[in-house]
Amino acid sequence: MNRREALKTTGGSTVMALLVSAGLIKPTDVFAQATDWNKNAFDTKNLNDTVKALGGTTATLSKDIVFSSAPDIAENGARVPIAIVSNIPKTDSISILVEKNPNSLAATFFIPSGTEAFASTTVKMGQTSNVYAVVSADGKFYYATKEIKVTLGGCGG
């Protein structure tokens, strides 16, 4: 997955660089076009389907994936900080899924070799839900899960 991604990017960049030097497009357009987005994965509604859309068949539960930072209770579902460390060798991507959101997949992070198997971000959670960290490493998929409760703070109006 990662290698394919890297190859695609490299190839794309070369073409783009030529176009830029030929004055056909502005440098800022390069980034805009040399990317792709896995629409199928972002349309899925559960762990299994997401794993399939990410290129796997099934994911196994792993103790080597750690929620290094993630609250048990979030005071506001609009911003839930989540950080994940994978201790699985050759980790090349980390995805964050929120089971009860309209679509499960929130984000996928691609980890080239030389970069730590770590990612953090902030996600939205519509309600209390299981959150999954899905890791792909050497062609296999693994996951860990954690329940995060979403509560209501403040005056309620």
Partner: protein
């Protein structure tokens, strides 16, 4: 024109800890406005970090990433004074590129 990102890149031991704040609505496409009309989805789809011409971290976001999101990652092999270039592109094709110099922790 999108607002600049706020990027911090600090060398801690042999790892550079990068934290990026991005200014973006991250509209889900599920919300209705006051008139009851669905507000169309508008969100960052791709984020990329480059160091010495090499992509060192990239991400695909769905609309469930929070408004004004941040991401964090750790790069090996960067030195103080090196540049890290961040770029994002949203589903409307709007994009933003900013760079930061790695500083000591």
């Amino acid at each position: 024109m999108a607002d600049p990102m706020k990027i911090r890149a600090r060398l801690q031991g042999d790892k550079t800890q990068v934290i990026v704040s991005m200014s973006h609505e991250m509209e889900t496409g599920q919300r209705k406005d006051a008139a009851g009309k669905t507000v169309p989805a508008w969100f960052i789809q791709n984020v990329k970090a480059t160091h010495n011409g090499k992509v060192v971290f990239s991400a695909q976001f769905g609309p469930a990433v929070a408004k004004n999101p941040n991401i964090g990652f750790r790069v090996n092999g960067a030195k103080v004074g090196d540049k890290i270039i961040m770029n994002w592109v949203d589903n409307r094709g709007d994009n933003r590129t900013d760079e930061i110099t790695v500083t000591p922790a």
